[in-house]
């Protein structure tokens, strides 16, 4: 396996799941768009936080 593919798949699936989940869960009510905004962004923020902690092996 190429280096780091495992991380790519794990984080890719986490981000996709949170993004699709947030958008599907959102009711579409203009007064409360937060699930479609906050849940996808949370996944990406978690990813960046993870990447920033990684050091050379």
């Amino acid at each position: 396996m190429q280096p780091e593919w495992d991380k790519g798949w794990i984080w890719g699936i986490i981000i996709v799941a949170l993004t699709a989940g947030g958008v599907v869960y959102d009711s579409g009510d203009p007064a409360s768009y937060w699930p479609a905004l906050v849940i996808p962004l949370a996944g990406w923020v978690l990813f960046v936080a993870y990447v920033e902690t990684q050091k050379a092996k």
């Binding site: 190429q2 280096p3 780091e4 593919w5 991380k7 790519g8 798949w9 984080w11 890719g12 699936i13 981000i15 996709v16 993004t19 699709a20 958008v23 599907v24 959102d26 579409g28 479609a36 996808p40 996944g43 990406w44 990813f47 960046v48 990447v51 920033e52 990684q54 050091k55 050379a56 092996k57």
Partner: protein
């Protein structure tokens, strides 16, 4: 449509054109380039890498910018006409994934590869050698690049599904 049909079609053409360039380069990096580089002699690699990375990343990051920029205009246009219908929600998932990929290109991959390129250029010009932290920079950029490759499969699916499979979100329970 806020822009009218002609402008919408032009933006779509540019969005797809830049997208082909961006994702084509992403797949080149992740599926082809590393296989070639790992078999090269160190001296060849040292000579080739800064030049190749410079040009590849220049086209790569501006292709990402073009794709995202025209995509944002299209999304605004679709929002205007579709509201929060399932078709819009489906493309919103693709748009979020494309946005995260775009942010990863400029905020992670390019941020670290720029440092790496600078260090390689300084070493080549007789300055200090490439520091040991460069391995950390490359590793972080690589994780973001692999994640972008995986995200691209899903991003393309949701982008295509929004036009050709508008019932997708109904099946997902949306």
């Amino acid at each position: 449509m806020a822009f009218g049909e002609d402008l919408h079609a032009t933006f779509r053409w540019l969005h797809i054109g830049f997208g082909i360039l961006w994702i084509g380069l992403l797949y080149f990096f992740n599926f082809i380039q590393w296989r070639i580089l790992k078999d090269l002699q160190d001296a060849t690699k040292k000579d080739l890498m800064p030049k190749m990375l410079h040009h590849n990343l220049l086209w790569f990051r501006y292709a990402a910018l073009g794709t995202w920029g025209f995509g944002a205009l299209l999304l605004w246009d679709v929002w205007d006409s579709d509201g929060y219908e399932n078709r819009f929600r489906t493309i919103l998932i693709g748009a979020w994934l494309g946005t995260f990929m775009f942010l990863n290109v400029w905020g992670v991959i390019w941020r670290y590869q720029k440092k790496n390129l600078g260090a390689m250029a300084a070493a080549a010009a007789g300055g200090p050698p490439v520091p040991p932290e460069a391995k950390t920079w490359v590793r972080r950029a690589t994780i973001a690049s692999r994640t972008n490759t995986v995200l691209s499969f899903f991003m393309l699916y949701f982008m295509v599904a929004s036009t050709h499979m508008s019932s997708l979100l109904g099946k997902m329970g949306g």
